[in-house]
């Protein structure tokens, strides 16, 4: 037993994740020891401090390209970019999570253990929300960061669980509509556990095939292994199911509308922006590093999934009557466009990264605006309630219209530039069928967005139109960031396109 080689650890490469994980652990200690009244202030500053410090560490690392801790972590250009994207989107969505002016005590429940509508539950309605959400968010963000730079499937699995478990909990913590919130948590949890079992079985089969779980090892194993090819094919398929579930691709999308609707809106925003970035970061890495050499075998299957996702997502979005469900199906359709980027392999890595940033900011802005439309019951998410909001709240409606046009892919918005960049690089990678389907489905998808715009401006207000609340600086900053980035990336996308081009391909050795 004396042949154990201690792995070399490059602490600088791990620093961003260590900072965020450390801040999360400190956050738990704060929950344990800080007096109740102080917790909110301490937690918000700790969370923002931790995330900003992590971002600084990523920026310092920007030229790093290294595989460390025995191959468990591969820090490379796209990995660092994704980490930075997740942290930035996380900081922005934190503005929604920490908002306490729209609703007395914030969007989260104070004591989740109280049964809904019980006496204890009525008493806690006026209490400030639980501050555990901040460490949970930090754990989720740190897990996503690790997920994007995992060098082997074991690390990837652990990271997957580290970011999934807090999200399951966060889904069930809504202050209003407790029941559908907890049902969303249960659905997300059961299906998520099911999907991670598939992921693991895929990992196990690939291990049986290649004798290693490292992505580069599998890449080499594909060329050398003497094991049956069935192990490889089955392993790859099961692994992909686990990843596509997190990415909300059809036919693994069924949880998306219910969970997006039931979860507290700040958590929905976090999932739509950050989880999407992490899931596609993982997908891009797995397919580009481990399975690039077997691309002929899986590309047709994944292309079919991409087509299904784009078509089903955009068609079902048309039929929605709830703004959160509409955004959920739009996120499914956007997962389809991103899958086009995955199928196109190295040719489209840069434009996929660009798309993740552009979509993330737009969707954060949109969900931030959803939190503003309220009546006495909380958020009014049914579309019929939004009719005629343009009369009373022109600024709100104008900004929301801009974001909707951005989603629809109108020029001068990031929705146009990101789709254009993605589809043109996919076209160059000879994925012309996918591009045609993508363009057609985005035309279909424009319809529900424009329907919302028409509803806002042209329809007469209903009998009890909800009011647009005035938020604190936090939500204002989120909306501003969402709208501003949607505009800036639409007008002057070149600086970000340069950055993603500099990020280069995934490190595959």
């Amino acid at each position: 037993m004396n042949d154990i080689q201690l792995p070399a650890i490059d602490y600088a490469a791990l620093l961003p994740m260590l900072i965020v994980f450390g801040a999360a652990c400190v956050g738990i200690l704060v929950e344990a020891f800080a007096p109740r009244g102080w917790r909110f202030v301490i937690q918000v500053s700790l969370t923002i401090g931790g995330l900003v410090a992590g971002l600084v560490a990523i920026i310092v690392n920007r030229d790093l390209e290294i595989t460390t801790i025995g191959g468990a972590v591969t820090v490379d250009g796209p990995g660092l970019f994704l980490q930075g994207a997740i942290i930035i989107l996380g900081i922005v969505s934190l503005g929604l999570i920490a908002e306490r002016r729209l609703e007395r005590g914030g969007p989260f429940v104070a004591e989740a253990a109280h049964a809904a509508n019980s006496d204890g539950d009525k008493r806690q309605e006026r209490e400030p929300g639980a501050t555990e959400v901040f460490p949970l968010t930090l754990f989720a963000i740190a897990g996503m960061m690790l997920f994007c730079v995992s060098g082997d499937l074991l690390t990837m699995f652990v990271a997957l669980e580290v970011f999934s478990l807090p999200l399951y909990l966060l889904c069930g913590l809504a202050r209003r509509r407790r029941l559908i919130s907890q049902e969303a948590a249960l659905k997300y949890f059961l299906l998520g556990a099911f999907a991670s079992a598939f992921f693991l079985y895929g990992v196990a089969l690939l291990y049986g095939y290649a004798g290693t779980v490292s992505l580069t090892g599998i890449r080499e194993g594909v060329l050398q292994s003497e094991q049956s090819g069935i192990l490889l094919a089955a392993g790859l398929a099961l692994l992909a199911i686990g990843l596509l579930f997190k990415a909300a691709a059809v036919p693994f999308h069924v949880w998306t509308p219910d969970v997006y609707q039931g979860a507290p809106t700040p958590v929905t925003a976090l999932m739509a922006a950050c989880t999407k970035a992490a899931a596609f970061g993982g997908l891009l890495r797995v397919f580009n590093v481990a399975f690039e050499t077997t691309a002929w075998d899986w590309q047709p299957v994944l292309a079919t999934v991409a087509i299904l996702t784009m078509v089903v997502g955009s068609i079902l979005a048309v039929a929605q009557t709830d703004i959160k469900r509409l955004l959920a199906y739009s996120s499914v359709a956007n997962a389809g466009y991103l899958l086009v980027g995955v199928v196109s392999l190295n040719g489209a890595v840069g434009s996929s990264l660009f798309y993740l940033i552009a979509y993330g900011f737009s969707v954060l802005g949109a969900f931030a605006m959803v939190t503003l439309v309220r009546d006495s019951e909380g958020e009014a998410t049914h579309l019929s309630r939004w009719a005629g909001l343009g009369k009373g709240s022109p600024l709100f409606s104008a900004l929301f219209t801009f974001l909707m046009l951005g989603f629809a892919g109108i020029p001068l918005t990031s929705g146009f530039t990101s789709k254009f960049a993605l589809f043109s690089s996919a076209w160059d990678s000879d994925q012309s069928v996918l591009v045609i389907v993508g363009v057609l489905s985005s035309v279909v998808l424009a319809f529900p967005y424009l329907k919302v715009v028409v509803l806002l401006w042209l329809n007469p207000p209903g009998e009890e139109t909800p009011t647009v609340s005035v938020p604190s600086m936090l939500t204002r900053a989120v909306i501003f960031a969402g709208v501003a980035v949607t505009f800036v990336l639409g007008v002057a996308p070149s600086f970000l396109l340069d950055i993603v081009a500099d990020a280069g391909p995934f490190l595959a050795k």
């Binding site: 037993m1 201690l6 738990i28 200690l29 929950e31 344990a32 020891f33």
Partner: protein, 121 residues
């Protein structure tokens, strides 16, 4: 692989089955029968059966809380076994890493303790 390797195993299984059948069938005929209250109660684990709450046979929610906490902290120990086996060759590095791991678990433990997760009443 030849089948002969399995013969001892088959013999053992047969003997075990026969012995079990023999003792179960013969015991009621030759054993003494002296019943008391304890013997007539349903056997759970050798300890007095847990008193069930009035109005139904559901367990208090505290049991589940404690059981869940126990499972989570108990399973963490799994990581200690490989470390203990390879302790000599891992040396100081392994020791420090394990210390860090235990500190992390302890953070979670502190939270549970401070927030009353371990209080029975």
């Amino acid at each position: 692989m030849s089948l002969s390797q399995w013969v001892p195993l088959v013999v053992l299984f047969t003997l075990a089955t026969l012995f079990a059948l023999f003792s179960v069938t013969i015991a009621p005929y030759i054993g003494p029968r002296r019943y008391n209250k304890a013997k007539l109660e349903a056997y759970e684990c050798g300890i007095e059966p847990t008193p069930t709450p009035p109005g139904g046979s559901r367990f208090p929610v505290k049991f589940y809380l404690t059981a869940m906490l126990f499972i989570i902290f108990d399973i963490e120990i799994v990581f200690l076994y490989p470390w203990a086996v390879a302790f000599d060759s891992l040396g100081m590095f392994g020791f420090v890493e394990m210390l860090l791991f235990i500190v992390t678990v302890f953070v979670a433990y502190t939270y549970v303790w401070r927030r009353g997760g371990l209080d029975w009443d």
